[in-house]
Subunit: 134 residues, 3 copies
């Protein structure tokens, strides 16, 4: 089964989508299988991270923003603004696709794992994620 | 087929699990297919790296430890110790899931490729990996 | 279906392989499914990036070359030359495998997404990629 989700991100940062993906898994009705996520953009990405303490996600964002700052004189690809090139770099350092097994009718996530859509642009965007379940 | 493996890591570093995954592939008996690995933690990750010269793995560890040092004043998520936040960052920079095709009844790894569970915490941990074969 | 492709890279940099992968998807004839790519090397990797403006790819290469320079005194794994250890590091920061859903008989790539084989060695190489379609 394949579903395409459109997620509106509120702007730069880690946006949890565990609930949205879980709904697709339930709809598919699979007891056991594989759920593959794919984000159809090059300035947003996917990651699995701690879903408990928000300070971990905040530190992740700040750390990555420091590693890949805006207005780096190295960038020549600047037509779409100062957050354009950093977005592409952050996307290649994280994930465009994720494979998550399905066990007992649910995603086989660990206790502290959540699925996040990482918006790398400053502005809110509509992001399309393809969910494949087999 | 799905199997959950529990691997005891001896502490921080790259811990080879090729043999463990290969055993699951043999048990499944598939001649051709796809083996997906998923680690159920946010402070350990997966990577495929050179299995020959141990100096390559040692340099990888030292390089990543320098890029993501402990006690960085940026961190606010420090409740679990100085190796907590670096572990989360290292996890997002490497892989939480891997898809490896199966060819002729074996993992389609290149000659120099090994599968590694990367423990990012200093202490030994029991880590759970879900292996999906289809 | 599984196919192994051998791609000759012209040297260090992002080398587009979207066309090669699309040809395998067409040969498989699947209307809907999952295409998994796996590169059988530890000094080359896979990434999905912007296929429009070449300046984005050039900046990605320059940025990664600056983050992981040659001749870093940290390296001890230097037997194969100054581009050996940086290649392994760049490989772990990007992807060894990618899962791309198939929709309407084609890869479900976004409008601006291309699939790239990232050659991390300076010299031209023959790189093997396994394509699994199910």
């Amino acid at each position: 089964m394949i579903r395409e989700l459109t997620i509106r991100t509120p702007g730069q940062g880690l946006h949890e989508i565990t609930h949205d993906i879980r709904a697709v898994v339930r709809e598919a009705g699979a007891r056991e299988g594989l759920c593959t996520l794919f984000v159809r953009h090059t300035s947003a990405s996917l990651t699995i991270q701690e879903n408990a303490d928000p300070s971990a996600r905040r530190d992740l964002e700040r750390w990555l923003n420091r590693l890949v700052p805006e207005n780096d004189p190295l960038y020549t690809h600047t037509a779409e603004g100062p957050d354009d090139m950093p977005s592409h770099i952050k996307a290649i350092l994280t994930a465009t696709s994720l494979g998550i097994p399905i066990l007992n009718g649910d995603l086989a996530l660990g206790t502290w794992q959540g699925i996040y859509l990482w918006e790398h642009r400053r502005a809110s965007h509509h992001r399309r994620i393809v969910v494949h379940i087999a």
